[in-house]
């Protein structure tokens, strides 16, 4: 049984469908990446899973219960968190307040999760009293991922975690994603840095025009000639 199962979803904004039947699944402990050209609907898949885009047809099951078209605060309660692309921190709140907001729906003590985030990202502990808006792009991404970890989720959705970051920072972000995976959290991400992302992922999906085109292990997709020619720059 998979952690997340997406079956033939169709949907989009208003009357226009962007997703024309997408299938995917994420198993416990996996890192899964979605790649594809611009406009293929990669980010829309994430938003549809998280209740931000209306799903007109098809099913989304998380831990064996349907979550299609639920509100984000209801989905978060089930152990599924989402980190949007860019603008993903509260700039005037301190780093620690950003992390606290991640635990908003919890009324119990979350000091253990806070400690765990600081252990994973020691740089965040040093900056905990600084406004998140004053941090660099890479550090902001850590705050955003840290915030998602505050609910001790089973699965985190990452929408282009390396968008707009310098190449040396990209490496650091991927390393952090691996660290999060090492503590038992599954990840589903959308990435433009397709080669690097496929290298570190267990499996990958190639999406074009709102449909699945290829599905395989990260390594096999890297070695697939058609995929290489289309998306990996030959």
């Amino acid at each position: 049984m998979s952690l997340l199962e997406v079956e033939q979803i169709r949907g989009g904004y208003g009357d226009v469908d962007i997703l024309n039947g997408v299938d995917l699944h994420v198993d416990q402990g996996e890192i899964v990446v979605i790649i594809g050209p611009n406009g293929a609907g990669k980010s829309t898949v994430m938003k549809a899973i998280f209740g931000l885009v209306k799903v007109r047809e098809g099913g989304i099951r998380f831990q064996n219960s349907g979550i299609a078209n639920l509100r984000p605060d209801q989905i978060v309660r089930r152990g599924l968190c989402y980190v949007p692309q860019e603008k993903n921190v509260f700039p005037t709140l301190t780093v620690e307040e950003n992390l606290e907001m991640g635990a908003f729906i919890r009324n119990d003590d979350f000091s253990r999760e806070l400690e765990r985030v600081y252990e994973l990202f020691p740089a965040m502990y040093e900056k905990r009293r600084q406004p998140a808006g004053a941090l660099s792009g890479g550090q902001r991404q850590m705050v955003a991922m840290g915030r998602a970890l505050m609910l001790d989720p089973q699965l985190i959705l990452l929408d282009e975690p390396t968008a707009g970051l310098a190449p040396q920072i990209v490496e650091l972000i991927f390393e952090n994603i691996r660290k999060i995976n090492d503590i038992g959290v599954s990840l589903l991400m959308v990435e433009q840095n397709a080669k690097a992302a496929l290298r570190m992922s267990h499996r990958g999906y190639v999406l074009t025009t709102g449909r699945n085109r290829h599905t395989d292990t990260g390594e096999n997709l890297l070695n697939n000639r058609e995929v290489a020619e289309m998306f990996l720059g030959g």
Binding site: D73, F90, F104
Partner: protein
């Protein structure tokens, strides 16, 4: 010198009242992204609600303050949940127009219930204290002290409580607040509780300082807006400074201008601010 100090006293008193109104306006703008034109009439309602225990029980306005504040909080939340909540997904300009409608309804309601004439919390003249040729009334201390206390409470709420932090988070980025799992409607209700309570406090203080009248709140809406814009709309801390600047500027202007021009001074400051620094004095960094 004595005249300057006297005007400073009046300016700080007026500024405290404007600041309380502007805080609510700024909070609502930060969370809901529309200028709430019915805010002046919430101020009026706060003043008149506090009159209820005065006229029925003969209680002093200092004690009925809390009644006025609580009743206005309920009114503000009710207006939001009944009307504004249905308009969350439409363009902010429609909310703006709706709030002008609410303003008219509220003002007419005040006239229907309490009549169109002036009302007073207490009759008679309270003797001012004279300090170095400057008149200070006990009511002045009450108003400024009350405003300072409310601002301190607001600060503790925004910085220390989970709901206050969520309010700041939502003001930073409402979409992100939603995907983080923050219950948006709960934060909005708290915004109206705080904004409505502050407006009521402004109304009661204005009523203590002058008199009660159905357009008392509408008349100070312009300086209140000017204060909010001066401080950077959406920034409650800026609204406090903005309120004091507008209050002082209006009083100092009476040295060279006739007092009826006071609203024009607030308007001129607001226009100058919008031309030269539309983000306000305390614009934070852009996300």
């Amino acid at each position: 010198m004595a005249e300057f100090l006297q005007l400073t006293v009046y300016g700080i008193v007026a500024g405290s009242i404007y600041a309380l109104g502007a805080i609510g306006l700024s909070l609502v703008y930060g969370i809901l992204r529309f200028p709430h034109f019915a805010h002046g009439d919430l101020i009026t309602f706060g003043a008149y609600f506090a009159l209820v225990p005065v006229s029925i029980l003969g209680a002093p306005p200092e004690l009925t303050f809390f009644f006025g504040v609580a009743a206005t909080m309920i009114l503000a939340v009710a207006i939001d949940q009944i009307l504004y909540r249905r308009l969350r997904k439409v363009a902010p300009v429609i909310l703006l127009i709706a709030s002008v409608g609410v303003a008219l309804i509220l003002r007419s309601a005040v006239q229907l219930i309490w009549g169109p004439g002036n009302q007073y919390y207490s009759q008679g003249i309270s003797m001012p204290w004279r300090l170095e040729g400057v008149n200070i009334k006990p009511d002045h201390l009450l108003i400024v002290g009350g405003a300072v206390l409310l601002v301190v409470l607001l600060h503790l709420f925004l910085q220390r409580t989970k709901t206050g932090k969520a309010m700041r988070a939502m003001s930073d980025n409402a979409d992100l607040a939603q995907v983080t799992g923050i219950e948006v409607n709960k934060v909005i209700i708290w915004t109206w509780i705080i904004g409505g309570g502050m407006a009521a406090a402004a109304g009661v203080f204005l009523g203590i300082d002058t008199r009660l009248h159905p357009v008392m709140g509408w008349r100070i809406l312009l300086p209140v807006f000017a204060a909010a814009i001066l401080g950077g709309i959406g920034k409650p801390y800026g609204a406090i400074v903005g309120g004091l600047i507008i209050g002082l500027a209006q009083e100092y202007s009476t040295v060279i201008l006739s007092p009826p021009y006071k609203p024009a001074v607030a308007f001129a400051l607001m226009v100058l601010m919008l031309i030269f620094k539309p983000t306000g004095l305390f614009a934070g960094r852009k996300a």
